[in-house]
């Protein structure tokens, strides 16, 4: 750990997240510059810093919402996030199979076959185009491998990040307001369920069983975060603190190995904050979940973190254990201004 670390190769089994020199610039503004971060398995790491330090931007890069300008993020040893390259090439490639079909058809004499030839060619071209587009949408492994051979690198989307094993909550709560608490968690469990289109149309037994089991598990998650029995309440009707807890439960739906929590205790009173902090700690001990946290509340940060990163103006100004960071003059200066250290 530390910003001087060399550009390490793939992570060891114990480091679950590795960010290397993550940088994001918006036009002329560098929001995040050269951030390095290692999160050990089962660890709780916090990022703190004044407002506008770039914490949420960094979070959004890790979560796949924003593409980085430079740097990489690797999760469980695989690089997920990196600067996109040659994305335009993919769009161009979509046309290729259809063109090939058209050319082959012309060569085979469709041009001379009059109207029928034209119709058949058009149909074949259309089918080729649709097939290509379907493949491009589904993105099977061979497709992405082929693209990366051509130098086309696409950074992970939020749903790819989730399927890799990360879950997140948002700074401004983003629950599905008009859905019930239970339904919110069921959405969170989306990738755990396997029913397919046939099951949907047939309303099959398999789907019914799966949904019933899912509802059971969702209720367990509600119990875990302290919202037992509130299944059928609309998310927008829940009190603020409960909404935050619901969002946490939803993030747990996909059995993540790493949770990204953006200011989980914002707006809570001390009692609720203490409960939330204890809950986060329990996630680590009971579920083995690693946590990356953005927080402003120092009691939470100091109380629960194994490791703290301090950011200001997009850069890392300090890191270490809570004690180390608390005493670092640079940190004091950043928070309280010069002259206070």
């Amino acid at each position: 750990m530390g910003s001087e670390s060399p550009d390490a190769p793939a992570a060891s089994a114990e480091t679950i997240l590795q960010a290397r020199q993550v940088t994001k610039r918006f036009g002329g503004l560098v929001a995040v510059r050269d951030i390095n971060l290692d999160i050990p398995q089962g660890g709780i790491v916090s990022i703190i810093g004044p407002n506008g330090a770039g914490k949420t931007t960094f979070f959004n890069v890790v979560a796949g919402i924003i593409d980085p300008t430079a740097g990489t993020v690797a999760f469980k040893g695989t690089t997920l996030i990196s600067r996109p390259r040659r994305v335009w090439l993919e769009s161009v490639l979509w046309v290729v199979p259809a063109l090939v079909v058209a050319i082959v058809a012309l060569v085979l004499g469709a041009g001379g076959a009059g109207d029928d030839g034209l119709v058949v060619t058009t149909i074949l071209v259309a089918v080729a185009l649709v097939a290509t587009l379907v493949v491009a949408t589904i993105r099977p492994a061979w497709y992405t491998t082929f693209l990366s051979r051509l130098g086309v690198m696409r950074s992970a989307r939020p749903n790819d990040v989730v399927s890799a094993g990360m879950g997140r909550t948002f700074q401004n709560i983003r629950l599905f307001q008009n859905m019930t608490a239970l339904e919110n968690i069921l959405v969170g469990m989306h990738l755990q369920l396997e029913s397919n289109m046939v099951d949907h149309f047939a309303a099959s037994r398999r789907q019914q069983r799966e949904e019933a089991a899912a509802a059971e598990r969702a209720r367990e998650l509600l119990r875990l975060v302290g919202l037992r029995g509130r299944d059928d309440e609309l998310a927008k009707n829940l009190p603020y603190g409960d909404q935050r807890r619901l969002e946490l439960a939803r993030a747990l739906g996909n059995r993540p190995a790493l949770l990204l929590l953006d200011e989980p205790t914002a707006g809570m009173n001390p009692n609720e904050t203490a409960q939330m902090t204890a809950l986060i700690g329990r996630l680590r001990t009971d579920l083995g979940v690693s946590v990356l946290l953005i927080e402003h509340d120092m009691r939470v940060v100091m109380g629960i973190s194994d490791h703290i990163l301090v950011m200001d103006h997009g850069e890392l100004i300090s890191e270490g254990t809570p004690d180390e960071v608390r005493r670092d003059p640079k940190v004091i200066e950043a928070y309280l201004g010069t002259g206070a250290s």
Binding site: P6, D7, Q21, T23, R25, G27, V30, R33, D34, I65, I66, D67, T69, A70, P84, W88, S91, V92, R157, P158
Partner: protein, 343 residues
């Protein structure tokens, strides 16, 4: 990789250097202009510039509104159409002009009055639409104002259709198409010169307004970050209303021009033109004024080129393909910035 600087380095690749310098779009346009001159010939080239001016004026309204409230104002094309009919009304019912004017004083007088009244009326129409159909829905989900916009579009079309009937109507061509001047051996219509000059003057005026005045600054800051602008004391409602006022007034001017140049109008004018003008705005970079202007001219060229080669009906399809290609390959348009974000 330790020690390598992030961001700007001396790049050996000339293409990348070109892209970074920002000159790319301008070169593209310059090259295109030269090519089009030779493809179309001088007469159609002038024609394309004129038609393009109309689209540019309408595109400006689309791009301004989208820049500030991120809404495609579907009713904007129909606002343009209403402008054409208002100018018809002004000319025939108020000024009593049904054909071409006969003296320079008459032309100046009639055009001034028509432009002034039409632009004012349509500007007000735009403000009213915003106030009653869009403002109440500013915090509603995205779908709501889009649907209202469609509703307003249909309301406008049908009101005009009820008043004027479904068939095209002839409009007075105040500057007679026969009045021409010889420039370098080419016969150019005064009407073309008038339209192109007027459009350019309006566009420059708009650019100056947006960059130099306090209101213009308010518009830019609201478009860039509404909350911050509000915190700085900008009156958001008023700023948005002014945006609609100006955008609609420009569309009104375009409506006058449409009547003057093409000589007939009908109620579906806005619907047809709206799609093309919006494509122009997207092509140029949505939210970007220069882009909308150039986009408008580009679309004018596409349309005239299609017509020139006898494929007029395919102009719509060509414009649609341009829209798709732009959105898929370069959603930021010619002059916009690439964001790296996704919903």
């Amino acid at each position: 990789m330790a020690g390598s600087a992030v961001g700007v380095t001396a790049s050996p690749n000339p293409l990348v250097a070109l892209r970074r310098s920002g000159a790319g779009p301008y070169l593209f346009i310059a090259a295109l202009t030269v090519v089009m001159y030779f493809v179309l010939g001088p007469r159609q080239f002038i024609n394309a510039l004129t038609i393009g001016a109309i689209y540019a004026l309408v595109a400006l309204g689309y791009t301004m509104v989208y820049g500030i409230i991120e809404l495609i104002n579907f009713a904007h094309g129909d606002v343009f159409m209403v402008g054409a009919f208002v100018s018809l009304f002004v000319l025939t019912n108020i000024l009593g002009q049904t054909g071409s004017a006969t003296s320079l004083e008459q032309i100046v007088f009639e055009l001034t009055v028509t432009f002034a009244l039409t632009m004012a009326a349509i500007g007000v129409l735009g403000v009213v639409i915003e106030r009653f159909a869009y403002r109440p829905l500013r915090n509603a989900p995205r779908l709501a104002p889009l649907i209202t916009a469609i509703g307003v579009s249909f309301i406008l079309q049908n009101i005009i259709q009820i008043i004027y009937g479904p068939s095209p109507i002839n409009t007075p061509q105040v500057i007679p198409p026969t009045a021409r001047v010889d420039i370098g051996g080419i016969s150019v219509g005064w009407i073309n010169i008038f339209i192109i000059v007027t459009a350019v003057v309006l566009m420059i005026g708009l650019q100056l307004f947006v960059s130099r005045t306090k209101v213009g600054r308010a518009m830019r800051s609201t478009a860039s970050d509404r909350e911050a602008a509000a915190l700085m004391g900008v009156d958001i409602n008023r700023t948005i209303a002014i945006t609609f006022l100006i955008g609609s007034a420009l569309a009104g001017a375009a409506g006058v021009v449409q009547g003057l140049y093409l000589g007939n109008i009908d109620f579906s004018l806005g619907f047809q033109a709206g799609l093309k003008a919006f494509t122009a705005a997207v092509l140029g970079g949505i939210g970007n004024l220069t882009g909308a202007a150039f986009g408008g001219f580009f679309i004018g060229f596409v349309e005239v080129t299609c017509g020139n080669f006898g494929y007029f009906v395919w102009a719509q399809a060509a414009v649609f393909m341009i829209l798709i290609i732009t959105l898929v390959f370069r959603p930021a348009g010619l002059f916009g910035h690439q964001l790296g974000e996704r919903a």
